[in-house]
Structures are given as C-alpha cells and as structure tokens.
C-alpha cells in the first residue's frame, strides 16, 4: 500500500477510533486485496511504511462488481 495512504489510514483510525472505522477495498485481484487487508489489520507486511508493526485491527470489506453493475459488499 502507498506509504501516504498508510499514514492517512493510521491518522483516521487514531482520530475516530478503530472501532468506528471500516475499510472498503476496490482491488481488482484477490492477492492485492489480501495485502491491503493484512496491512490495515496486522500491519505493513513489508515493514516499509507507517503501519509497520502497527496492528489497527480494522474491519475490512472488499467491494467488487457483482453480476450486475452495482457495487456489491
């Protein structure tokens, strides 16, 4: 995940409280979504960004296209 976005996610979780936040992903592939989800729950797996070693534990949903054209969560 982009390092700036990691910082913004971290700031938002600290400002609003992790229990009040929900992360919604729009990734096109499952591997990417898995890395995003791991980053915002357990911390940055590459230990390169602001979320390295920070377990926010945020709930994560993946919003992708369903059989119709609506966003399905």
């Amino acid at each position: 995940m982009d390092l700036q976005n990691q910082q913004r996610i971290k700031d938002a979780a600290e400002k609003f409280g992790a229990e009040n936040c929900v992360v919604i992903l729009g990734s096109s592939d499952p591997e990417g979504a898995e890395i995003y989800a791991e980053t915002v729950t357990n911390g940055d797996p590459t230990f390169a960004g602001p979320l390295a070693g920070v377990s926010l534990g945020l709930p994560v949903y993946h919003g992708g296209p369903s059989e119709g054209s609506d966003l399905h969560i």
Binding site: N5, I9, V22, V23, G26, S27, D29
Partner: protein, 43 residues
C-alpha cells in the same frame, strides 16, 4: 446498509478495480461517513 451505519468509511480504490469516486457514489447513502478516499495505481 445497516452494517455501515454510523461508521467512518476508509475507501481504498484501485484504478484497475473499483476507483474510489465510484465507491463514494455507491456508498453515499449507506449511512456511513466517508472519512478518507483514495485510488491507487500500480502502473
């Protein structure tokens, strides 16, 4: 809809997937408040 009510929504869109403006449009009536929205690109 109910599970997002009152929540702060952090949207991480992707250019080749669902970009964040589309997610914002879909979630504006979800009951949650969009606190952060970004679209990433890996090209």
């Amino acid at each position: 809809m109910g599970k997002l009510a009152g929540k702060k929504l952090l949207l991480l869109g992707e250019r080749d997937g669902v970009p964040s403006p589309a997610m914002e449009a879909c979630l504006k009536d979800s009951g949650g408040e969009i606190a952060f929205s970004a679209t990433e690109c890996f090209v």
